[in-house]
């Protein structure tokens, strides 16, 4: 082994320190060679890194930030995070030495921010103590635990048939105006109503600002805003901000996941996100692939949705549940982006225009919707009460075509059609009225045991309301027990059925 002289080493270190001190204030600079459509091409900056933030001088003496996406041999392609109106060719560019990050923490709760964490609600600056990078790695295999706790949406059709678990990624997919955002909003409201403590993060990607404003007002009205964060981007924002919004929102939600809490994030919607990324990629001269999307459009969404997780007990057992939204064209779920996201997520809730206009709202297509992991996380009470629901509805759909020949059908088929019609009616639920566990369970037990079979279809909703009122007034303690979500006892079933028989008598035809 060669002798190490500490004296020599100390001399070298001191010389290195002096050298570094002398380079203070010496910044690496480049020059904008071309600019347009929010994309700048830059000469120089040999030490630049991918995704690094750069500062470009504007003609008015100010600066605008951009981040690097293309690292070419001779030039760098960067996407501006602001307007390109005041940036001209020849402008000086400086490296910042850091990647994009956003403020995170409880200080953001109740706020409406842009994807860079800047407040948009006029409530003053956000004094967050921590910042997370926008792009973060998803937790690894050993950091995770299987999804086992329910995330109640408050929508009976979902909680009974397509249950969602904490840490799951469940896609909401459907044409325009089919109630996709309504489902997401109801789920957020339900977290407040049921006091689950789940933090909501709503990411609006290129949504109309009027729609975002309405949503924020509703959240405030329902008292949920204090436990929510809204990351807003509108159609007039640069594509770079639309691209960043889901990642920024995810970082904000991950803070709660990593601090032993539960968070729910809604991406509204990833179709617009893919379109924004396509715009940026084409302007950056990346080779177009299918439908002109770049080759890494799958990775764009898979790395985002992989950040949803249920962490193991050593890491605090926090969770991040994702509800991405995809808008289809004419119900085509086999298009490029919808199939990508369907394959990434742990299930999908498919909304149909036909059902919506038939008055079946939420317009969930039970046949095409699925939850791949939620069954393990479903509340026991709802699971036992709604066990056969999916099968009953599937059989009803198969037989529905014969409904006009009802008189010629055998008694069993007639009974199935009868039950199916009533179940379909029962699962209709107005917006902003999420239901609790006891309400869902009691309603399903009553319907599955045939107590509603004699009630005319048009009176089902009234009968349901009457039953729930009766149960709450007469058996409050029992219903509170039912709310806990444990498996329904025989005694409890008898209580519900007795009440149901009594109430339904008044509605029977």
């Amino acid at each position: 082994m060669t002798d190490i002289s500490v004296k020599e080493l100390s001399k070298d270190i001191r010389a290195a320190i002096d050298g570094l001190r002398a380079s203070e204030g010496l910044v690496e600079t480049g020059i904008v060679t071309r600019i347009g459509d929010g994309v700048a091409w830059i000469y120089g900056l040999a030490g630049a890194g991918a995704n690094e933030v750069i500062t470009i001088d504007t003609t008015s003496g100010g600066t605008v930030e951009a981040f690097i996406l293309n690292l070419g041999e001779d030039e760098i392609g960067a996407v501006l995070l602001g307007s390109d109106q005041e940036v001209s060719a020849g402008a000086s560019v400086r490296l910042s030495g850091h990647v994009l990050d956003v403020p995170v923490g409880p200080e953001l709760l109740g706020r409406v921010v842009d994807p860079l964490g800047r407040p948009l609600d006029g409530k003053g600056p956000i004094n967050a103590k921590l910042r997370y990078p926008v792009e973060r790695d998803a937790p690894g295999v050993m950091a995770r635990k299987s999804v086992h706790e329910p995330l109640m949406s408050g929508i009976t059709a979902i909680d009974a048939i397509i249950p969602i678990g904490r840490g799951q990624r469940e896609l909401i997919i459907g044409d325009r105006q089919t109630g996709k955002t309504a489902i997401a909003l109801d789920t957020m409201i339900n977290q407040g109503r049921q006091k689950t403590g789940v933090v909501n993060v709503y990411v609006a990607v290129g949504q109309k600002l009027s729609k975002i404003a309405r949503l924020v007002d509703r959240l405030k009205e329902e008292g949920v805003m204090d436990n929510s964060i809204v990351v807003a981007t509108g159609p007039a924002d640069p594509a770079s901000l639309l691209y960043l919004a889901p990642y920024a929102g995810s970082s904000m939600a991950e803070y709660f996941r990593d601090h032993k809490q539960h968070a729910l994030i809604i991406y509204d919607d990833l179709t617009k996100h893919a379109t924004a990324y396509r715009q940026m990629s084409l302007l950056l001269r990346r080779p177009p692939g299918r439908e002109a999307y770049p080759g890494d459009v799958f990775f764009l969404h898979s790395r985002l949705l992989e950040r949803a997780a249920k962490l193991n007990d050593e890491l605090g057992a926090g969770s991040l549940t994702s509800l991405p939204i995809i808008e289809t064209q004419a119900g085509d779920i086999s298009a490029y982006i919808p199939t990508n996201v369907i394959s990434i997520t742990d299930g999908q809730i498919f909304l149909e225009t036909n059902l919506f206009y038939q008055g079946i709202r939420p317009a969930i297509s039970v046949g095409l919707s699925v939850s791949r992991v939620g069954g393990a996380a479903q509340t026991k009470a709802v699971k036992s009460a709604g066990g056969g629901l999916k099968l009953d509805l599937a059989q009803f759909r198969e037989l529905a075509a014969f409904m006009q020949f009802a008189t010629d059908l055998d008694a069993e088929t007639r009974q199935r059609l009868n039950r199916g019609q009533r179940l379909t009616e029962l699962l209709k639920q107005p917006q902003y009225q999420p239901m609790g566990v006891w309400e869902m369970t009691a309603m399903l037990i009553a319907a599955n045991n045939g107590t509603m079979d004699e009630v005319p279809v048009e009176k089902i909703q009234d009968a349901k309301t009457a039953l729930l009122t009766e149960l709450w007034h007469e058996h409050k303690d029992a219903m509170r027990t039912l709310s806990v979500g444990d498996k329904v006892s025989d005694e409890m079933t008898k209580t519900i059925l007795d009440a149901a028989k009594k109430v339904m008598k008044g509605f029977a035809a």
Partner: protein, 134 residues
């Protein structure tokens, strides 16, 4: 038509030629100019020259530019040369000087794609940006 190569490769070839055969600079300049015309890159001449300057500094010959509001005295020039020499590792430093009264005071030193800006103008601009942000 000449094949268009990456700027890095062209610069490397030019610098090697300059160092190996300094006597044949005239011929090199002519063929380089012809390449730029043939590949329609004449507008990128500044970028090529900057890259050549950087590449030369790696061979011990650095060129730096200093812009100041007033004439610099010899002590400051020597100190700047020393700084460039330290930072670039080049033994020979050529300092090109220019005067721009609009800088108001201080200096702007550029070499090898790096910049040291201690001008009063940039400090005022920074102050303006900070006060506008607040």
């Amino acid at each position: 038509m000449a094949q268009r190569l990456s700027r890095r490769l062209v610069v490397r070839a030019v610098v090697e030629q300059l160092i190996r055969q300094p006597a044949s600079t005239h011929a090199l300049v002519r063929s380089f100019a012809a390449y730029l015309i043939e590949t329609k890159q004449t507008k990128q001449l500044d970028a090529y020259l900057a890259d050549i300057t950087t590449a030369l500094s790696m061979h011990g010959q650095a060129t730096a530019t200093v812009i100041s509001a007033h004439d610099l005295d010899t002590k400051v020039v020597a100190a700047l040369k020393e700084l460039v020499s330290q930072q670039s590792g080049a033994k020979h430093v050529t300092l090109e000087q220019a005067i721009d009264p609009s800088l108001l005071g201080g200096i702007q030193l550029s070499f090898n794609g790096r910049k040291l800006d201690t001008t009063v103008r940039s400090q005022l601009n920074q102050l303006k940006a900070t006060s506008a942000a607040n």
